[in-house]
Amino acid sequence: MIEVDQLTKTYGVLPAISNLSFTVHQGEIVGFLGPNGAGKTTTLKILTCFLPPTSGRARINGWDVSEESLKVRGVVGYLPENVPLYSEMTVDRFLSFAAQAKGVDSRKLKTAIDKVAGDCGLEKVRGRIIGHLSKGYKQRVGLAQALLNNPPVLILDEPTIGLDPTQVVEIRELIRSLGQERTILLSSHILPEVSQICQRVIIINRGRIITTDSVANLTTQFQTSRKIHLTIQGPDEEVREALLTLPGVLHVDQPYQSPEKYELEMEKDRDIRAEVARVIVERGWGLLEMHSRELSLEEVFVQLVTEETGGPA
């Protein structure tokens, strides 16, 4: 559906992205992940025909973005970064403009607008001027205009940025439900979001793809150790010592500034949770809590990005 091949874009002499290649298949939700300035927005702008690539090709639906730009723009719904909107218009007027610009048939205009306004939770603000809306509602208006004309491909640049937590959940739900019939490429630097919505992630840094994989694969692949969290009632020093002497324990840490909470790092293939519990109970301390923690996407990401930039080249 979206095919990117050796895509390069330079601003002057500064390369924004170099030799990017990836594919997004029909019906997939793919997260485009990277630190600020990694080239996410540039890539998305090329895919939506706003910027031409310096070299390389990008195809959507088999149409090249430089050669058949109009066709590509016809099938792509785009939410740009920072959600630019005509702030002097009312929501309804703006959506009606966007629908007309996207070539929605004038007889179906009203139903099309009603549908996206409903999907994005805009019913209450339809008559209001966009400039007076809160950031969250503006974001929804941006999403609504992208959904007009029911495009099979959605490209969303940081769709949940600036929203409050409940709105974030709602928008994520919306995106997930949209993804059932559409191809979605969304960029983000919020990792939990990507791990919740997307089936696959493309991690880029400094204009290059570092890795492409499913979220589950990434977290297991880069896990070098296991971590468990413990809350233990007992004399601090002795607890630490006892934990450290256990076989397979690499490291004991107290990351939460609280005397009773410990983080235990142990070898990847060794599960010593039963052992830990036994030792604590034998000493007569109170074991209040114990749970194991998967390596989060965040840690994988930091690992990858720092390897890329700081590691030996």
């Binding site: 630019p84 005509y86 002097e88 403009f97 966007a98 996207k102």
Partner: protein, 256 residues
């Protein structure tokens, strides 16, 4: 032209929603009203004198003494106000980032530019139409020849078309509306007065310079002549700058 009407209507809406249109329109009408009043007052003074001195009678003519100077004055006011109407056309879109929406919708860029161009022209037509009241008043009180009035308006409309196209181009150059207005005004003024150097330049260049001048081509219209050469000049002026804007937007894309 797909999408043209969407852009055209949005642009009109933006004009009527912004105070710029009302302020500019009001100022235009106040100034032209003042010029109109002055011409009429002068005309009535001359008429009284002519009544006492029959030899002067032949020179008293509403079209020559009121309509023609009024058209000249209005063309100058247009020169001042059109850049203020065109400054936001693209500069505002660039500043707010909405150009990204516009250029990623399945619209041809030419449709976008023409939508903006014609919406602005229509707004100017609305302002000019109000000045038609002056002509109706003149016709009510005196003997007015409608021919030169109509050609005069044609001239002003064509002139505005040229002004708007250059203003549109100036607006494409920057995100700052004030800069767009200043560039637009400066360039228009240059095209206005370029004919002045025609007499000092050599005969060959002098002719070219005269031909380029926006002012020199207006002369025939207010004399009641609809010369196809002048019509052609204004139309090609407009097309040239719309084309230039189109090219400029493309080159911007390439440079990023």
């Amino acid at each position: 032209m797909k999408g043209f009407s969407a852009v055209f209507r949005r642009e009109l809406y933006a004009f009527f929603a912004s105070p710029i249109f009302y302020v500019v329109g009001t100022i235009f009408l106040i100034l032209s009203g003042y010029f109109f009043y002055n011409s009429v007052a002068y005309f009535s003074l001359i008429s009284f004198q002519a009544a006492q001195n029959p030899q002067m009678g032949g020179q008293v003519n509403l079209n020559e003494m009121v309509v023609k100077p009024l058209f000249d004055d209005m063309s100058i006011i247009l020169l001042l106000i059109v850049p203020l109407l065109t400054m936001r056309l693209l500069a505002e879109e660039k500043k707010n980032g909405t150009i990204e929406l516009l250029l990623t919708y399945p619209l041809r860029e030419l449709a976008v530019l023409l939508g903006k161009y014609l919406a602005t022209l229509l707004v100017i037509l609305i302002i000019l139409a109000v000045t038609g009241i002056y002509m109706v008043m003149l016709a009510g009180f005196g003997k007015l020849e409608w021919g030169p009035v109509i050609t005069g308006y044609c001239g002003l409309i064509l002139l505005s078309a040229g002004f708007v196209s250059l203003g549109l181009f100036a607006s494409a150059l920057t995100q700052n509306q004030i800069i767009a207005a200043v560039i637009g005004f400066g360039a228009l003024l240059m095209f206005w007065i370029i004919g002045w150097s025609g007499s000092v330049a050599g005969p060959g260049i002098g002719q070219v310079v005269h031909y380029l001048s926006l002012l020199d081509h207006l002369e025939s219209f207010s004399n009641g002549v609809l010369d196809s050469r002048d019509v052609f000049y204004y139309l090609s002026f407009s097309i040239f700058f719309i084309f230039l804007t189109l090219r400029y937007l493309d080159s911007q894309k390439i440079r990023g």
